[in-house]
């Protein structure tokens, strides 16, 4: 990729000038995050070295064995998600299950899932939606709940808006971010019609004892300040056959996940038997996140 080479060369020269007299030459610092290649352009050797570095660094920071996986998409698998809006009660168990699983910053607070409270009389209406509801007990009378996270669009606006190719759609349908390639320009934040992306405005804080050491390079590995992140369908779990965390913690069983290419999957059953809606259909983003009732 000529773009990546030129950036790398440029940075090497710049760093070379700055560090001319210092002990570290350019070749020694290429594996620090600033000089990594885009994930898609890495050679296997380069990737191995980077994984080793990352695991060492995070294990030291969090005082436990941290693993950084790079599981590739499975053949014949394309993921989709479905959520039963007639069953969701808005309890936010999914939100905090996700925060814990995916190592989201506690302060500043980052939450990939946002549960919107809507008025039954108004239907799905984002103008009326309230994410800040609180109550002794949910569901509150007259309301229904619509949890939102990345819709893993087949035609993602975020990917098109990124000037450096730091975010892309994988073969299994997961839209991912390379945190070391992300510039922090936030073009994708404004391009996404679903408000699904989050920016690390401050240095993320993550209590060591709550840190999930089972991570994926394109998923829940700890992020630096100044990069964008979002839901990845729990890439570290789902590429190993497990359900996403939110599916497992939802007490009402509203959340369903599976392979849309498998005719026996739960997702296919829903698409074939239930009333299904996608959000902002008119934008031609083709979400892989279906709401049903």
């Amino acid at each position: 990729m000529s773009e990546s080479i030129s950036r790398r060369k440029f940075l090497c020269i710049a760093a070379g000038c700055a560090a001319a007299a210092s002990v570290a030459g350019c070749s020694d610092i290429t594996h620090t995050s600033f000089f990594r290649h885009n994930f898609r352009d890495m050679t296997p050797d380069e990737l191995k070295k980077i994984i080793a570095d990352l695991e060492r660094e995070h294990s030291a920071t969090f005082g436990k064995q941290v693993l950084v996986g790079v599981d590739p998409p499975m053949d014949g698998v394309s993921f989709a998600y479905a959520l039963d809006i007639s069953r969701c009660i808005g309890c936010r168990r999914c939100v905090y299950g996700c925060v814990g699983e995916n190592n989201q910053s506690r302060d500043p607070q980052i939450q990939w899932i946002r549960v919107l409270e809507m008025n039954k009389e108004k239907g799905i209406d984002f103008q009326e939606a309230n994410p800040y509801y609180d109550a002794e007990e949910v569901p509150r009378p007259g309301h229904f709940y619509l949890p939102m996270a990345c819709q893993q669009c087949e035609n993602p606006a975020c990917v098109k808006s990124c000037p450096v190719g730091a975010t892309w759609r994988e073969k299994d349908g997961i839209v991912v971010v390379d945190y070391d390639w992300c510039l922090g320009c936030r073009c994708c934040l404004s391009a996404c019609p679903y408000g699904a992306r989050r920016f690390n405005w401050g240095k993320p804080t993550l209590p060591a004892e709550e840190m999930n050491p089972d991570t994926h390079y394109l998923g829940n590995r700890p992020r630096p300040k100044g990069v964008v992140e979002k839901c990845t369908f729990c890439i570290q779990r789902t590429r190993r056959g497990k359900y996403p965390k939110c599916v497992e913690v939802c007490p009402t069983g509203s959340r369903k996940f599976g392979n849309i290419l498998d005719p026996e999957s739960e997702i296919r059953y829903i698409l074939e038997h239930k009333r299904v809606v996608v959000l902002k259909n008119e934008l031609n983003t083709h979400p892989r996140f279906y709401y049903f009732f």
Binding site: P131, Y132, Y243, P251, G253, N259, D262, S265
Partner: protein
């Protein structure tokens, strides 16, 4: 008993041809509705009806008092079953049935002869581990979705082994409406500190 606007079971019987009426009576039995107006038929002998072959692995049934099972600890030969529909006062008076209580009572689901089992409307005995078959008699649409993995919570693998829950893990059998929960903390609005 009313069936649709202005039609009673008596009327249905009078208006329908014999075969349809018989089919209807059969349907009533199958659905496990109380057989108010239907002809009292001899229940088929127990254990002769083939049980639905689909069996799902679930965690053990959630008995509220873990020592209460097996029921035959008390309901044994010394305690002849009282088949009279009544309000329980000596025991189990903590159970308040809020589940079509107008039409049903204990022995519609619990078996009078074998208290360690439940029975289906056709008399088949089933263990408490398979109570979903009992629920499925009336809630057929939910049972179908549950079997497909669409109703109820699943854990495990999307492409492999899944753990199912029994209906009664989320819906207490005697009062099945799902209880509300206290929501976890709302997000912090931008610009505010926790």
């Amino acid at each position: 008993m009313a069936y649709g606007p202005g039609i009673t079971w008596g009327d249905v019987g009078k208006r329908l041809p014999v075969r349809a009426a018989a089919a209807l009576a059969g349907a009533i039995l199958c659905l496990g509705l109380s057989a108010g107006g239907a002809t009292a038929q001899e229940a088929p002998p127990r254990h002769t009806v083939p049980v639905d072959s689909m069996v799902f692995e679930t965690p053990p049934p959630p008995f509220r008092d873990p020592d209460i099972f097996p029921c035959s600890q008390c309901h044994n030969a010394d305690m002849p079953p009282n088949l009279q529909r009544r309000q329980l006062v000596d025991m189990h008076d903590d159970i308040v049935l809020k589940h079509d209580e107008e039409h049903r009572w204990c022995l519609d689901c619990h078996d009078a002869q074998n208290r360690d089992r439940l029975h289906l409307a056709n008399g088949t005995l089933i263990p408490f581990e398979q109570s979903y078959k009992l629920c499925g008699q009336c809630h057929g649409d939910k049972y179908r979705d549950w079997r497909a993995g669409v109703h109820g919570r699943r854990t495990g693998e999307w492409n492999g082994k899944k753990q199912y829950l029994l209906c009664v893990h989320c819906h207490y059998s005697h009062e099945p409406k799902f209880k509300g929960l206290k929501p976890l903390a709302p997000p912090i609005p931008p610009g505010r500190k926790p």
